[in-house]
Subunit: 398 residues, 2 copies
């Protein structure tokens, strides 16, 4: 009998940690492990707001997959997933088909636009290396263009839709970068406008109100104007139209208002809500004993508040580790060793730009430089988990 | 009797050298010298191809005017010239009017599009700091965009119209930069196309054919495709249509095919051909004993070949020095000291990118690293002339 085939699709937090833990746990003759990803690098989603704003080079937010995995134990295929065929136990890629006995789905999210007209066509998303490189260049390009079309103040007007983690962290970085851009392009800083538009009444939902006020205060001091309790009604070529009827003319609208799971999951006939699968205690898809879901496509209810956990890097990594552990137990025919997945929320820190952040670690509320330091520690810890000390030294920011 | 008012409009090569020589020659009570420029900096036009391609920061190609002139001797006004009123002996600026007894016109050139449709609307020009910053960002922006629209190979296609100095030097730099851009944006270098389209049968007209062949050979090896003897018939939003009917789809068309003098000169009623004034031996405009023309607006015939000298930095600087000398003689009522202007062509070097150039210095033909070194010496010499050793150290590239 040949070794079972484990196929991991997607090299995000969940997929990469699954692969790393499987290669550590299993002997080379216990399973054939394959990892598929559409890029030959893994990117650090929680840091993408920085290259998007241009405060960090995008290469610091990505790691070559071949540097992470042991090629003798994990076979890597750079290709794009087209379809998951659960009955035939295979995954169709653009260039080949790959069979599996066990499948780990870590395909990540897609933007959720809630049907708001024009967002898909005209708004940017902070989604991956390609999109943040595009945003960064778009911003610089419009500063450069402005000098030749000084009536176009919309070139210097930036609208961020959504006041969740990504939106707020991006605004913090962008506000830091504006003075440098003004200097570089000889632009009067008073002409630059930063707006945050959010349909709900508060920024960073789920955070303690005291911390939220701190964050709003810091960002307002950096020049961000908040429009809370105001939905974006439409995004156009010229900017956004708000629910109040007000139009903000802007050449750069960044939508960070929501994500959903991957549509390939629904297309595969796996039961899902907006691409997210309500997995069982072992992260298995309902009705599919050999399919595990990790990361943004997995839906887990926080029973304390009877609402889903938000899709975070922290939980995705824990899921990757859990799936690897349970898969090893299954393959070794030791099902009684399997452990139910239980998220362990160690802390949450949101950056507000250079030297500023808010966060909750354990029971402590943190603000300012201490919170910013904690954010760095979390980032470095992640690099350590996936790549050890060498990766920390190479990509870490101190 | 109050000291005569000397007004210099334009702080290009001719204007700056006029101002510097006047402040050196004249005592503070001999004249009131005013310099007007639309920016508070002087830029080094002969280096603009580098920031345009992104191989040098634009700040290295400009110098703050207040660092060059002695504010006690030369009054600087940052403003834009709107009209020259020769009868009233005053110049109308956007914000004020300035009277003069002597006027030095160094307003520089405007692009000459020879009536080619669409060039004004859709093509870039390597003209000033604002325009080259725009070109640089435009190029990077389209590399970044390409990753999200991989069918748009026109984003990676660059057309330079004109094979004179500026076009060829820009292509040399751009070709050097392409591999770096490909690395930065994960783009396959084979997808990038560089075209040079020139209506006349040769590049760099006026250069020795042996040197021209060397230049073409170097640039072809760097990936430039030449289309000589082919005019651009039309420039559109999508690229260019050539005289042969061929269309090159390109998001970036840079027109370097010609310049003319400044239209304000014609508007002032000064006799000119395409904005260039056929000046007398003392660089005075015909019929205007108190108006001197320097730089791109001055037309001087090279009697050896009975054709105008090309408008170069070298000649503009010599004109600036000559006008300053003659003006001092006039003001001191020593007309017999006045000297006729005679250009002295010390040499001409065209850069072909990093470490490569062609040139003629005296009777010597130079190619390769020696020519490139000579180009650097010429650039440094200019910095020395206008700003002495401190400027050489601050802006020079070694």
């Amino acid at each position: 009998m040949s070794a079972p085939k484990i196929l991991i699709i997607g090299a995000g937090y969940g997929g990469v940690v699954s692969a790393l833990n499987l290669q550590k746990t299993l002997h080379y003759n216990e399973a054939q492990i394959t990892l598929v990803n559409n890029n030959d690098y893994h990117y650090i989603t929680t840091e993408l707001h920085q290259p998007a704003a241009g405060t960090m080079h995008h290469d610091r937010a990505r790691v070559n997959i071949k540097e992470l995995i042991d090629s003798k134990k994990v076979h890597f295929i750079k290709d794009t997933v087209v379809e998951i065929k659960t009955e035939e136990q295979k995954v169709v890629l653009q260039n080949e088909e790959v069979e599996y006995d066990y499948l780990i789905v870590g395909l990540g999210s897609e933007p959720e636009t809630f049907g708001i007209k024009g967002l898909k066509e005209y708004a940017f998303g902070i989604r991956n290396i390609n999109s943040v490189r595009h945003i960064k260049q778009h911003i610089e390009y419009h500063f450069a263009k402005f000098r030749n079309e000084p009536e176009r103040t919309d070139y210097l007007t930036f609208v961020v839709g959504g006041a969740g983690f990504t939106g707020i962290e991006f605004l913090g970085e962008l506000a830091d970068r504006i003075p440098k851009l003004c200097k570089e392009y000889d632009v009067d800083p008073k002409l630059v406008k930063l707006y945050n538009v959010e349909a709900s009444p508060t920024v960073l939902p789920g955070f303690d109100p005291e911390l939220v006020n701190y964050a709003v205060d810091i960002l307002e001091k950096k020049g961000v104007e908040f429009k809370l309790n105001v939905p974006i009604q439409e995004c156009t070529e010229d900017g956004v139209i708000l629910g109040t009827g007000e139009e903000i003319k802007s050449a750069t609208v960044v939508w960070t208002g929501g994500v959903r799971g991957n549509s390939l999951v629904e297309a595969a006939g796996i039961e899902a809500m907006r691409g997210r699968v309500k997995v069982d205690e072992y992260l298995k898809a309902p009705g599919h004993e050999n399919i595990f879901i990790v990361g943004d496509c997995a839906l887990i209810i926080n029973e304390e508040i009877n609402r889903p956990y938000p899709p975070t890097a922290q939980i995705a990594m824990q899921q990757g580790a859990n799936v690897a552990y349970n898969l090893a137990a299954m393959i070794r025919n030791q099902p009684r060793l399997m452990r139910a997945f239980k998220p362990e929320i160690k802390g949450t820190v949101a950056s507000l730009g250079n030297g500023e952040a808010i966060g909750v670690v354990g029971n402590m509320k943190l603000t300012g430089p201490i919170a910013a330091l904690m954010k760095k520690v979390i980032d470095l810890r992640y690099l350590f988990i996936i790549g050890g000390i060498p990766l920390v030294l190479r990509k870490g920011r101190f």
